[in-house]
Symmetry: D3
Subunit: 156 residues, 6 copies
């Protein structure tokens, strides 16, 4: 791999919904890569609160003025998606030691199956408690979760 | 920060001694950066098994044919060393969830004090148990630790 | 908030079933608060082994002679339930480091959304392995789980 | 219990599928016991990717030339299965600290209910990331998971 | 113990130095207790960066207008200090899962030796990375740690 | 290795002091092995509260009527001690997830250097908080730690 090759990273997730933590993670790594593809996972076995179209629209809105960042739907293995897009890196945030163990196993398995490296970023302290599961719980119960998602994301 | 700026990373540690895990980490991130500076920490309050000169020589030997990788001694705060060297990134390996908690706090504190981002890499599975503390214990007791350090490092 | 205001705490859970660990937690914090409301969660998306009526009856039985402790059903956000009951505190037990990470995120999110503080208690050593999931597994397989639940709770 | 009594261990799991990690664990403990019974769990509430017959055949194949190792289906409590088979020990692998917390609680509950001791083994480093959940994900998405399962196990 | 008895808590630590995290913890629990005694530990085997007199003066300064909060030096067992001061509770912050394990053991041992309960509080997200060890490292290396300590604490 | 070979295990530690947790661990594994050698570590870089002679006498006292259990002093690498004593196994207790990470690395390194397997046992719930560090702290401060050590151990 030559040094002049474009550095492309995939940031995979279900983003149900996309949070200020996800947004900060992209902004904090944007200069490290020439291109970041946000890979919106769709898994037919999983139930989402927000439709794929909705989740995609939100992310596009957040990065509409950010060159080098794009969104794509994907299903299947993350490393297959990376290969198709010539990405050599996966970006993952890791908030807790429970996350850590899980992410480590996935990253190591991906590395056994390919040369794709996973790059981990810790959340900013103020984002360390924010996760999509809790946000969904707040939304489901009519609480106000607007402070946990990027400007422009409205739940109703 | 422009996209064409050189991406420089600092990989700090005491490397007492430098292990095959450290070596792999540099090799796995070498294409992500234009330059990696291995920052050999020297802390007057800490006792090292191997002299600074010895540790430096070993690392230089390992990367003597690897353009873009250099070694420097440093003391003081890692972020000050980064600024002096125009590095925007710190690289850290994180093996265990205990490491994770500690590294997270350090990375977050560094981020509060500067714009320097810490990039984390998980070890390859076969390196996940290798750490300098255990190697020193083996060497101290005349065990054979050669399989845990790069070729060319000899404990005698 | 004046010092003479009543200190009210909510102890939320699904209590499916209520264990000796839950019982000890209430008894150990009973003098810290003027009132403890055991909030029996009912979530229409979740399947319970024991009916809500049964779980409520068991808890009422355990504390029938304990002034200051009451039971209420609730659904929705815990902080909304707290506000409705003028409770300033949530009580949670935390047994393991996996629990810890999860509980920390919930407590921090609740604190972002309100002024309600979560107070954590570690289990007594002899209760540290007891959890409702394992008890349900024992009961489902006709094992004897009576030693893990308060006197007066019979699975039949 | 006399020292001359046969030492019998049960290695319970769903083995969906059986991995090289499971295989190594049996081979590494085979001399510690006179007999190891691989207990293939079947839980009617759980969905498996591979049929019970298929999973059993695979394990039998792996150990067909290994005296002292057998496979049996089981449902219900592990300690009841142990008693029925005069086993005094349960063997469990523990890969991560998240696993650890869960396994500790189960082992302690089993010990409260019986005299059966659980013996834990750490994976070899090269097996530390391998788990059945990730393998199923690879297989489901037509990836090549053959390097993570014993020779002779073919997914198609 | 009667409900009308004063609720007294001890918040023990070495506070080398006292941080905004410590300050927030006291302010967040101040209404739960009638009195909080900040117990400044002095251990002749330990080396401190800041003198006991200095650390005490700083804490007194922070709480000089806060009725119900006082500072005392102590050495010896925390539970002995509690008994001498008629305190029924110990307050501890717990930031990470590594902290958690350690604090759990201490709290359980204290509970075996006395009836004193330990009450745990999670840090606010923005304080979750702040710890005295890292602050000392910053100060030692002439970094600016003022944002991590309460107003009025100056390292010079 | 033949099935009829004696199964010998080493239980290494500094045992400063030997606790009821250590005692239980030996008693719970005594039937798994033909011989258990308690290996009393002596490390000239470490400071002990109790002399080696004292620690050895205490352990001998505890097991004076238990055939198959012996005590030996050792220094150097545990695997070298095992080889000298024809032991194929190391026994370790693991109480917390922090312990777990550390013990895993040591066990895996030992396995890379030899064929010696480490067998892990979880503490009984009532012993899960007991550790020698906390006991030394209690003793140093004239607290009563007698309930945490085997009968016959007196700190005076």
């Amino acid at each position: 791999m030559s040094k002049t090759k474009k550095r492309i990273a995939v940031f995979p997730g279900s983003f149900d919904p996309f949070t200020v933590g996800h947004e900060a993670l992209v902004k904090r790594t944007i200069h490290l890569f020439d291109e970041i593809i946000i890979a919106l996972g769709t898994n037919s076995n999983k139930q989402y609160m927000f439709s794929e179209a909705q989740r995609k629209k939100w992310i596009e809105h957040v990065f509409k003025n950010t060159p080098g960042v794009s969104v794509q739907r994907f299903s299947g293995l993350t490393i297959d998606f990376c290969k198709k897009n010539n990405a050599q890196y996966i970006i993952r945030g890791v908030r807790t030691s429970t996350d850590f163990e899980f992410e480590k196993a996935i990253a190591q398995m991906n590395r056994s199956l390919s040369n794709i490296e996973t790059i981990f970023i810790m959340p900013l302290p103020e984002h360390s408690a924010i996760n999509s599961t809790i946000i969904r719980d707040i939304v489901r119960n009519n609480g106000d979760a607007s402070m946990f998602v990027p400007k422009g994301i409205r739940f109703k």
